[in-house]
């Protein structure tokens, strides 16, 4: 019954309040955050009960409101020491919960081990690096590299360019998501995802998308991409592309078809024409800007750091290559034809090449 009430309240809240700001739309959020939004407030046991207001505001959970999940808060809270009730994730996310329960991962981690409900956001509003960091909480990066290197050519390159969930779930609809990275101080080749503050210094105003989207049309053209690569390279920054799924599943497993390189590499140039650039926002999340279709295939500094064998090959270069081979083939064909026609003119002994 509690679960049913929670679901109903959540749907009502989403439909009625989705466009409004959190505190205004769900007044009780403000009441809760009055204490939980302060770092100095601790539980009676001395534990932190802090919830980052900015991160929480960016979540869908803030729209449904604190009391959708914590629906039984005693009238004496917090003085009586009783903890408010907590919802079970599966109450609202039943299909995900069922799918996850069948996966290899289910016995290893609970929802909260990967997703902080007060900060959770959709994968498209996160950087690839942030998603992989969640996996790295349990899976040691060095061991992962070592185990992959046993069978995967250029394992380090693959791991840097893929989300773990790209291969280890049944996720679908892959796109290339690029993020801006800044060089770690004192390092030659180590980069990290650039922060909002770092990018804000490079542009005026709040719209840091203008770092690349020079005309502010909320789309990134190939020209803008090339200009970024030329100008910001000197500022110790780069664009780093990762192959990310648009539809994410929780069916953690080792899929047989992911051992086969052609799962990614034989999808052809048409598959990888859709790409985005993810810009960090103030709340620690990311906002995506769509990149001009096909820009990922550009050979002239559009995405100089990103190439997928077989998949991001350039069609104009294929044509030039084919013409070179055709020119080579045409010589034996035409010369051979005239050689055949004029064979009577030659005494074979006289004509060594």
């Amino acid at each position: 019954m509690h679960a049913y009430n929670r679901m109903m309240r959540m749907f009502l809240a989403v439909f009625m309040l989705s466009a409004a700001t959190v505190y205004a739309a769900v007044p009780e959020n403000g009441k809760c955050m009055g204490c939980h939004g302060r770092k100095d407030v601790k539980s009676i046991a001395g534990n932190s009960v802090y919830i980052d207001p900015e991160k929480f505001t960016a979540t869908t959970h803030s729209i449904v409101g604190c009391t959708s999940c914590h629906d039984r808060v005693s009238s004496g809270h917090p003085g009586d020491g009783s903890a408010p009730a907590r919802a079970v994730c599966g109450d609202c996310h039943a299909p995900v919960s069922v799918e996850y329960a069948k996966s290899l991962h289910a016995s290893k981690a609970r929802c909260n081990d990967c997703h902080n409900p007060h900060e959770v956001r959709l994968p498209m509003f996160m950087s690839g690096d942030d998603i992989n960091k969640k996996c790295a909480k349990c899976h040691d990066a060095r061991k992962i590299l070592k185990s992959h290197a046993k069978w995967l050519p250029q394992a380090e390159l693959h791991i840097d360019s893929l989300l773990c969930i790209t291969c280890h779930t049944g996720s679908q609809d892959y796109v290339i998501t690029m993020s801006i990275e800044s060089r770690l101080p004192g390092s030659k080749d180590a980069f990290k995802t650039a922060t909002y503050e770092e990018l804000a210094k490079l542009t005026s105003g709040d719209n840091i998308g203008r770092v690349i989207d020079l005309n502010g049309d909320n789309k990134v053209s190939l020209e803008e991409l090339r200009a970024f690569n030329h100008h910001l390279r000197g500022k110790n920054m780069r664009l780093w592309g990762m192959m990310t799924p648009e539809v994410v599943t929780h069916s953690y497993q080792i899929l047989e078809n992911r051992w086969d390189c052609t799962f990614c590499h034989a999808s052809g140039p048409k598959a990888m024409q859709k790409s985005f650039i993810a810009f960090p926002d103030k709340s620690g999340g990311y906002k995506r800007l769509a990149v001009e279709k096909g820009a990922i295939l550009d050979i002239l500094y559009g995405t100089p750091d990103f190439y997928m064998l077989g998949t991001t090959r350039s069609t104009p270069l294929n044509i030039i290559g084919a013409l070179i081979v055709a020119a080579g083939l045409s010589f034996p064909v035409f010369h051979g034809f005239f050689r055949l026609l004029t064979r009577k003119n030659r005494k074979e002994d006289d004509h060594e090449a």
Partner: protein, 224 residues
């Protein structure tokens, strides 16, 4: 009347290099085709198998190139003589040879160049081999080596214009090699018999038809 004479044209180290190189380059072209067009070409089964074979063949061709260069520079010391066109070759030799291939060959005129162990290649061959061996092959080896180690060499790749430009150059160079193979194999059939130029590449000895009236040529066993 003419009689056959045998001339030792191609010493063993050069023959070993040639066939190692030929086998390696054909392997590289075929595996490269699968690596670039995996959705259309599947000759070696797994994509990874094609990549591993391509990388191995690349290393073999690189080592073979190093041995070839060392042999001609240090042992035979005939690299410049055999491969670098002379001034006369550039001024008229190349044109004369092209004129033969494209015109006078068809009317039955003899080849203006006569191969000897000291001057194996005609001016067009010299020019073509010079470009192949001293420009295209080093470039394809260099770009291929960088592509085998993308992660550690990333900064160098970016200095050279990025990974896509490098992959594109590697592909176009490979296309040039494929085109060269077609022309090279065909031209090798233009001897006094279709296999006359293949035999010396196998056993070192080339048959030559010499006029009886000429004083018999001494069989040359000197290595070029």
């Amino acid at each position: 009347m003419k009689h056959k004479e045998m001339v030792y044209m191609t010493p063993m180290p050069v023959r070993i290099w040639h066939w190692l190189n030929a086998f390696g380059i054909v392997t590289l072209c075929v595996t490269g085709l699968q690596i670039r067009f995996p959705d259309h070409v599947n000759i070696f089964g797994a994509y990874k198998a094609a990549i591993r074979l391509h990388n191995t063949a690349g290393v073999v061709v690189s080592i073979s190139y190093g041995l070839w260069l060392s042999y001609y520079l240090i042992v035979a010391r005939s690299l410049v003589k055999l491969y670098v066109p002379t001034l006369d070759d550039l001024k008229s030799g190349i044109l004369r040879q092209a004129y033969f291939y494209f015109l006078t060959y068809f009317v039955g005129k003899p080849n203006p160049h006569h191969s000897t162990p000291e001057s194996k290649f005609n001016p067009m061959q010299k020019a073509a081999y010079l470009v192949i061996m001293f420009i295209l092959l080093p470039l394809v080896i260099f770009s291929g080596a960088l592509l085998m180690y993308v992660a550690p060499l990333r900064e160098l790749l970016l200095l050279l214009g990025g990974i896509k430009l490098l992959v594109g150059s590697h592909f176009l160079l490979a296309s040039c090699f494929t085109a060269f193979l077609c022309v090279h194999i065909y031209l090798a059939t233009l001897g006094h018999t279709p296999f006359a130029h293949f035999k010396p590449m196998w056993n070192g000895w080339e048959e030559e038809m010499v006029e009886d009236a000429e004083p018999e040529k001494k069989t040359d066993t000197k290595l070029p």
